[in-house]
Symmetry: C2
Subunit: 159 residues, 2 copies
């Protein structure tokens, strides 16, 4: 169960229920694999690649294939329950969607790969202002800051 507190009201969204509703509304059938994949993904609640998810799902049920993970994550993305990120132009990383957690942006260490999530309301407001200025109706945005984290334990790439 995830709680969203947007400062005005509190909504409770259960991702598994949301997924089931979405499937029902779209003439889709549920399956053992989809439930397993969704469970491990929402339980971990962190940035996971398809292979991470596959590995975790197989610990619960060894009969899950990579293709099904790809298909299920696409489904969850369509629901708005998951979002794909491409920080490094390699494998996509999935994280829980805005409707479950708070929207946030990312700060990524170019040496150790550490990812910090943050929100800054001033930036959110400026983004809307800029979109409006150019006649756009904003639907989504992506902001990623890259730098060196300065952590003493930071291991440079290649170590």
């Amino acid at each position: 169960m995830v709680v969203i507190d947007n400062g005005e009201s509190v909504a409770r969204v259960d991702p598994i229920t949301t997924m089931r509703n979405y499937m029902a509304q779209h003439g889709m059938k549920n399956s053992r694999q989809r439930e397993t994949i969704a469970e491990v993904f929402f339980e971990a609640a962190r940035h996971m690649s398809v292979d991470d998810i596959l590995e975790a799902a197989r610990q619960v049920d060894s009969r899950v294939s990579q293709a099904t993970v790809y298909r299920t994550m696409k489904l969850l993305t369509e629901c708005g329950l998951a979002e794909a990120r491409h920080f490094n132009d390699g494998q996509a990383l999935y994280e829980v969607g805005d409707i479950l957690g708070h929207h946030h942006d990312h700060l990524i260490c170019i040496d150790c790969g550490k990812i910090v999530e943050f929100v800054d309301e001033r930036i959110e407001e400026l983004q809307t202002e800029i979109a409006t200025k150019y006649g756009f109706e904003l639907t989504q945005h992506r902001m990623e800051l890259y730098g060196r984290c300065g952590d003493p334990q930071c291991r440079e790439r290649g170590n």
Copy 2:
């Protein structure tokens, strides 16, 4: 010839000269293909995929291969003369680097694919502030706003 006006001083950077200097400093040889590719890329000065660049280069010199375009764009990226963008997780789009044009962010129409470039100093400042707050030394950032452009001529995707 590209002019950079950063508000304090004005520098003139010729990309072809910069590329030649870079190659000389790195024990590389120039070639007919590299000059052709660089010429068409800097002349167009817009977002171009590798295939766009290949097509344009072949109109000048039919003996240019895709592999050489990839290799040359990588070289130009290392020089800072070009930057790769991945707006849609498909083919990369290249644009001229910050040292040639002003740094800018992007507003992308999700219906017609139109790309608007913009700069907002307030956002630039906030980004640095946020990175500092989390102990990061900012090296680079990426901000993309997605929405509907509201243009009457906007053709929805798939048309």
